[in-house]
Symmetry: C2
DNA sequence: CTCTGTGAGTTGGAAAAACAAACCCATAAG
DNA sequence: CTTATGGGTTTGTTTTTCCAACTCACAGAG
């Protein structure tokens, strides 16, 4: 029999969520990407309690997702900006927003619209870099690399 | 002056996170998508405490992201499967996994690989459905639809 | 100079969640 | 009859979250 796993499945989804999956973290990143990276703006726009925001910001800076940028000496004032790694999470946010727009509200009531340079409203699509096709569940096969972690097979509704 | 917003920014990212942003929710969805939707599998594979898992599952079912599927009468046994809405969150997970693979570990140590039907390993890419270009931060402009919510402008690192 | 305001946090105590381990119930297998 | 399995619930403890108030450094108005 396969060795029984003692802890949860090793997976970069889990690892990523351990960093950015805490409450408010992704909202903070959203604001940073929008250019609203100052402490009081973050408090207002995310709704996070100030102390929680403090710990989230520390974590995100430590993880290399945000940088603390001094925008005024005397008095010292800081702003949090996304790093390259942070900016690369933006597509995740866009995809999540599109999902929310589709499933969480009736057509027409979107509170924020993103425009793409191409002139159209952004409709993010996740594609396979190799073949260019839109990613669909049926086209995927997961292969865990660690022993002891198996899959039952594709789930049908 | 613009009306000061009392609560946090209205945004489908926030709404989506309110549903699936709690600890373990997306890991549960991952397992459901992998076909491991039974209670004990979920406990083992996500590491969630059983009571927490119970409340997450209820929430995800109520939200229409999972369905509770009876796979055996006498004894009654259930399995949680992703709905269409749940499956449409899978690309978010794939994008997040790719981000984690890139930024959270050295090249080569990925614990799970997804294969696409095209024969290649899946490398998810987020593109603009209108023009097909890969989505990059510099190409986006956010336009909040609700009054009182403004943006500072694009942030540069 | 004092008075008020702003930005960026700390501090302290109450309330809510998470956690761990034990327990429950129906059925099935040995 | 005993043990095992699946899908949870219960109980008690430990962490987090939440909220409001407070601090500190400086700036501008009067």
């Amino acid at each position: 029999m396969a060795a029984a796993p003692k802890s949860s499945r090793p997976c970069s989804i889990a690892d990523a969520l351990a960093l950015v999956g805490e409450k408010y973290s992704l909202l903070v990143l959203r604001e940073a990407c929008l250019g609203n990276g100052r402490f009081d703006q973050l408090v207002r726009n995310t709704g996070a309690p100030r102390d929680v925001l403090t710990t989230r910001l520390r974590r995100l800076v430590d993880a290399g997702i945000l940088v603390r940028h001094l925008y005024s000496e005397r008095p010292q004032r800081f702003e949090y900006r996304p790093t390259q790694a942070g900016l690369e999470l933006e597509p995740v946010l866009m995809t999540l927003m599109a999902w929310g727009d589709r499933h969480l509200r009736g057509e027409g009531a979107r509170p924020m619209v993103i425009e793409h340079t191409c002139g159209h409203e952004l409709a993010p699509r996740v594609t396979c870099a190799a073949c260019g096709a839109t990613v669909r569940h049926e086209d995927l096969t997961a292969r865990p690399q660690a022993p002891g972690w198996t899959l039952r097979g594709p789930a049908a509704v």
